[in-house]
C-alpha cells in the first residue's frame, strides 16, 4: 500500500531486511550486558540435557537408551514453536509505540519474533547434534531428510498461529493467558517426553480393535506438532527399536526393563512419518490461512486499537 510503484519482489526483499533488522535488535537486546552473551542460548539445552539424562537414567529408569537425547530431539522443536508463538502473540502489543507512530508492514513484527526463536533454537540443535556425536549416534542417515517436511509443517503452523495470536491479542488481551494454558496442555498431548508408540499401544489396549482403530491412531496426528516431533525423533534420535527387542537382535534379554513392545518410535517406515506430517500439514495449512486472514483483517486498525 505504501510502495505501490515497487515490484512485489522488491517489497519482499525489503520486508526480509526489516525482519532481519528486528531479529538482530531482539538478539542484541536480549544479550545486552551479559558477558557470556549468546553462550547462554547454548548453556540452556546443555543443562536440560544433563538434568533429563540424570533424572530419567537414575530416578525414573527408562528402557529408552539415552533418554535425554530422545527428549531433546523433540523438545527443541517444541521450544521453537512455543517461543515463536508466544513471542509473536506479544509482538504487536509489545511494539505499540512503533505501530502507532511509524508506518511499516506490521507482519514484520510477529515474523521477527518467529525468526528470533528460530535463531536460538537452531543454536540449541547444534548442541544436540554435538551431543549425538559424543554418544556415538551421529544422525547422518537418509532419514535426516525428514527434517525438511517436518520443518515445513512446523513453520506453517507457527506462522499461522503466530499471526493469529498476534492479531487477536490486540483485540483481546486475554489471548496471551489463554495461549499459555493451551500451550501447556498441548505440550502434554504431544509425544515429547513419551513416545508416540505408547499412545498407539494404549489405544489398542483400550479395546479399539474395530475397524476405526487405525483411523483413531492416525487422528492423533491431527495435532501437527505430533507429526513434527516424531519426525524429529526419527531423524535425529533415530533409535526405532528398544535395544534387544528389534528384529535384528537374535535374543530377547529377559527381564529387560520396558521390553514389552519392540518398537520405540511409532514406526520403522519412512512413509508413516510422511503420512503423519501430511495430516499435520493439512491442519497447519488451515491454521495458516485463518491466521493470515485474521491478521490482514485486523492489522489496518492496530494503531487505533492499541
Amino acid at each position: 500500500m505504501r510502495l505501490p510503484m515497487r515490484g512485489s519482489n522488491v517489497q519482499t526483499r525489503l520486508r526480509t531486511e526489516l525482519i532481519s533488522q528486528l531479529v538482530r535488535k531482539d538478539l542484541k537486546v536480549k544479550y545486552q550486558g551479559s558477558s557470556l552473551g549468546f553462550i547462554w542460548s547454548l548453556a540452556n539445552p546443555m543443562i536440560l540435557l544433563a538434568v533429563y539424562s540424570f533424572v530419567f537414567a537414575f530416578v525414573f529408569p527408562n528402557a529408552m537408551p539415552h533418554f535425554g537425547l530422545f527428549l531433546m530431539s523433540g523438545i527443541l522443536i517444541w521450544n521453537f514453536f512455543t517461543m515463536a508463538v508466544s513471542g509473536a502473540a506479544a509482538s504487536i502489543l509489545g511494539n505499540a509505540g512503533l505501530v502507532k507512530k511509524v508506518p511499516f508492514p506490521h507482519s514484520a513484527l510477529p515474523l521477527a519474533s518467529i525468526g528470533f526463536a528460530g535463531v536460538q533454537v537452531a543454536l540449541q540443535y547444534l548442541v544436540l547434534i554435538a551431543a549425538l556425536f559424543i554418544f556415538k549416534m551421529p544422525p547422518f542417515r537418509p532419514h535426516l531428510l525428514l527434517l525438511i517436511p517436518a520443518l515445513v509443517v512446523a513453520m506453517t503452523l507457527t506462522l499461522g498461529l503466530g499471526l493469529f495470536t498476534a492479531a487477536s491479542t490486540v483485540q483481546l488481551r486475554d489471548t496471551q493467558h489463554i495461549l499459555e494454558v493451551v500451550l501447556f496442555a498441548w505440550f502434554w498431548i504431544t509425544p515429547i517426553i513419551y513416545s508416540a508408540k505408547m499412545v498407539n499401544t494404549q489405544i489398542a489396549k483400550a479395546g479399539f480393535t474395530f475397524a476405526g482403530h487405525g483411523l483413531l491412531s492416525w487422528s492423533y496426528y491431527l495435532n501437527p506438532m505430533a507429526g513434527v516431533v516424531v519426525a524429529f525423533q526419527r531423524a535425529l534420535y533415530g533409535v526405532v527399536f528398544y535395544p534387544g527387542c528389534g528384529p535384528t537382535s537374535t535374543s530377547n534379554i529377559p527381564g529387560s526393563l520396558g521390553c514389552t513392545h519392540e518398537l520405540l518410535l511409532p514406526s520403522d517406515s519412512v512413509f508413516f512419518y510422511i503420512k503423519a506430517l501430511g495430516i499435520g500439514f493439512a491442519v497447519a495449512l488451515v491454521v495458516l490461512v485463518a491466521g493470515v486472514r485474521k491478521f490482514r483483517r485486523l492489522s489496518a486498525d492496530f494503531a487505533q486499537d492499541l
Binding site: 510502495l3 505501490p4 525489503l14 533488522q21 507512530k101 511509524v102 483481546l172 488481551r173 494503531a303 487505533q304
Partner: protein, 428 residues
C-alpha cells in the same frame, strides 16, 4: 527561522507558482476517521462477555470528510487548534490509521517523523538505530550503507553514534530522527511537530534541508503550531477545525483564519448561561487604538465586556492569562486576579473591565489571551483572542507558569452598565 533561510525559501516559493503544478502525490478524498471512546472498548474477555453492545454515543469523529491534495514540489502546512485532527490526518495519510470513510492514495516513498524517537530502540546504539529506522521506512540495507556517513554527519552526533540512544537528549533524538528521515530520499516528507525540540542551529540546518527538498520538487506536509514557520516555509496551508478543512490556501490567510478560529469564543457554563464574554480587545493604553503587533516589554490595555444574564454568585473571580495558541494551559498568569465579586453587585446586563499590562513579558512567540470568569470550581464564561504575537530579539523558554503584573484602571461604568464592578486591585 533566521532571515537567511527566509530568503532562500522566498526565492524558491516565487519560482514555484501554480503554473508548474506537479503531479499529485497525496490525494485524500472525503476522509473521515472515527474513534470509539477508550473506556467503551472491551479489551478483556470479561468485558466482552459482560458487555456485548458497543454504544454509538461515545463515538468521536476526529476527521470529517477531509479532502486534500498535495502535489510534487508543494510544502503544505497543517494548522489548527489542539484536537482539530491534524495528527490524525497525518497518520491516515501515512497509512498508520485506516480511514472509516473516504479514499487515500499516496504515490512514492514516504518518510514520516511523527514523534520524537519513534522507531528507535533505546537499547540500541545510534548506528544500529539508523539501520533499524531505515529498514522500517523501507530503505534497502545497501542504500543505508551508502548514506550512513552522511546521516551521521548531518546529525552532528559524532562519537555518540556508538552510544545506546537511551542516553541521548531529546535534541539528539530529533537530530538523529530528522537526519534519517531526510536522507533516505523520500518523495514525500511528513513531519509532525517535532522540530521545535532541536536547538536553533540545528533547526536552521533542518530548514535549509527542507528548502533543498522544495527545490528538488519533493512534497512536504507538516504540522506546526508556529504561525511564523508556516508562513515562512509553506506555499500552502490547510486549516483544520473540528476535523474539517476550514481553509485551504495561502499561508498568511490560513494563519489569520486560525486566529479567527482561536478567537473570541464562548464556553458555556455547566450551570446555565450565567455570563458570556462578548468582546475582548487589546488596545494601546494611550491612543486606545487596537494593536495587532506587540513588542515585548510594551504596555497594553486589555478590555473585556461581559454580558451577565443573572446575578452572579458570591465568590466569582475574573482572571486573565496568556496561553500558547492552541493550548489551555496558562503560560503566564496576569495579576491581579479579581477576587470574590460581592453578591448582588453584579446583576443582569453588560459590564466592561479593563486591565493595563505595564510590560508584556520578554517571551517572543505566539500566544492567546484568555479571560475567564469562574467560581470556586466552575468555569462560567471564557473568552480568548488568538494571534497575540510578541515580537522580540531573543527567544527564550520558561519552565512553569509566569506571573505578570498588571495595574487595573477600571473605566467608570457608563450609566447603562450600572453593575460594573470596580475591580479590587489585588496585586500581591
Amino acid at each position: 527561522m533566521s532571515e537567511n533561510t527566509g530568503e532562500v525559501l522566498g526565492e524558491n516559493l516565487s519560482g514555484n507558482t501554480s503554473e508548474n503544478l506537479g503531479e499529485v502525490l497525496i490525494e485524500a478524498h472525503g476522509v473521515s476517521k472515527r474513534f470509539a471512546s477508550y473506556h467503551r472498548r472491551a479489551t478483556s474477555l470479561k468485558e466482552r462477555l459482560v458487555r456485548h453492545e458497543q454504544t454509538e454515543a461515545d463515538v468521536f469523529w476526529a476527521l470529517r470528510g477531509v479532502d486534500l491534495q498535495v502535489r510534487r514540489g508543494e510544502t503544505v502546512g497543517l494548522i489548527g487548534p489542539n484536537g482539530s485532527g491534524k495528527s490524525t490526518l497525518l497518520k491516515v495519510l501515512c497509512g498508520i490509521l485506516r480511514p472509516n470513510d473516504g479514499d487515500v492514495s499516496v504515490i512514492g516513498r514516504v518518510s514520516s517523523l511523527l514523534e520524537l524517537g519513534a522507531g528507535f530502540d533505546g537499547e540500541l546504539t545510534g548506528r544500529e538505530n539508523i539501520y533499524l529506522n531505515a529498514a522500517l521506512l523501507g530503505v534497502p540495507r545497501s542504500e543505508t550503507d551508502r548514506l550512513f556517513d552522511e546521516i551521521v554527519e548531518f546529525s552532528e552526533l559524532g562519537e555518540f553514534i556508538e552510544f545506546p540512544v537511551k542516553h541521548y537528549s531529546s535534541g539528539m533524538y530529533v537530530r538523529l530522527g530528522f537526519s534519517v528521515a531526510v536522507h533516505i530520499d523520500p518523495d514525500i516528507l511528513i513531519i509532525d511537530e517535532v522540530l521545535a525540540v532541536g536547538d536553533a542551529a540545528f533547526q536552521k540546518k533542518c530548514l535549509d534541508r527542507i528548502a533543498d527538498f522544495q527545490k528538488r520538487g519533493k512534497a512536504i506536509l507538516f504540522v506546526s503550531h508556529s504561525a511564523g514557520l508556516v508562513e515562512q516555509l509553506c506555499n500552502r496551508a490547510v486549516l483544520l477545525s473540528h476535523g474539517q478543512v476550514v481553509f485551504d490556501g495561502r499561508p498568511g490567510e490560513a494563519v489569520a483564519q486560525l486566529n479567527h478560529v482561536l478567537g473570541v469564543d464562548q464556553v458555556e457554563s455547566e450551570r446555565g448561561d450565567l455570563a458570556t464574554v462578548t468582546e475582548m480587545n487589546i488596545l494601546d493604553p494611550i491612543s486606545r487604538e487596537a494593536i495587532d503587533e506587540f513588542q515585548c516589554g510594551a504596555s497594553v490595555l486589555v478590555q473585556g465586556v461581559i454580558d451577565w444574564s443573572e446575578p452572579l454568585p458570591a465568590g466569582a473571580k475574573l482572571s486573565l492569562h496568556l496561553t500558547s495558541p492552541a493550548d489551555e494551559d496558562p503560560i503566564i498568569e496576569i495579576e491581579p486576579l479579581w477576587h470574590f465579586v460581592p453578591p448582588g453587585e453584579i446583576g443582569p446586563g453588560q459590564s466592561r473591565f479593563e486591565w493595563v499590562i505595564d510590560a508584556l513579558p520578554d517571551l517572543p512567540g505566539d500566544f492567546a489571551l484568555n479571560l475567564a470568569v469562574h467560581t470556586q470550581d466552575t468555569l462560567i464564561a471564557h473568552g480568548r483572542i488568538g494571534g497575540v504575537r510578541l515580537l522580540g530579539a531573543t527567544r527564550r523558554t520558561i519552565g512553569g507558569a509566569l506571573t505578570l503584573q498588571a495595574s487595573s484602571s477600571p473605566e467608570p461604568p457608563p450609566s447603562d452598565m450600572p453593575n460594573a464592578l470596580p475591580p479590587r486591585t489585588g496585586s500581591r
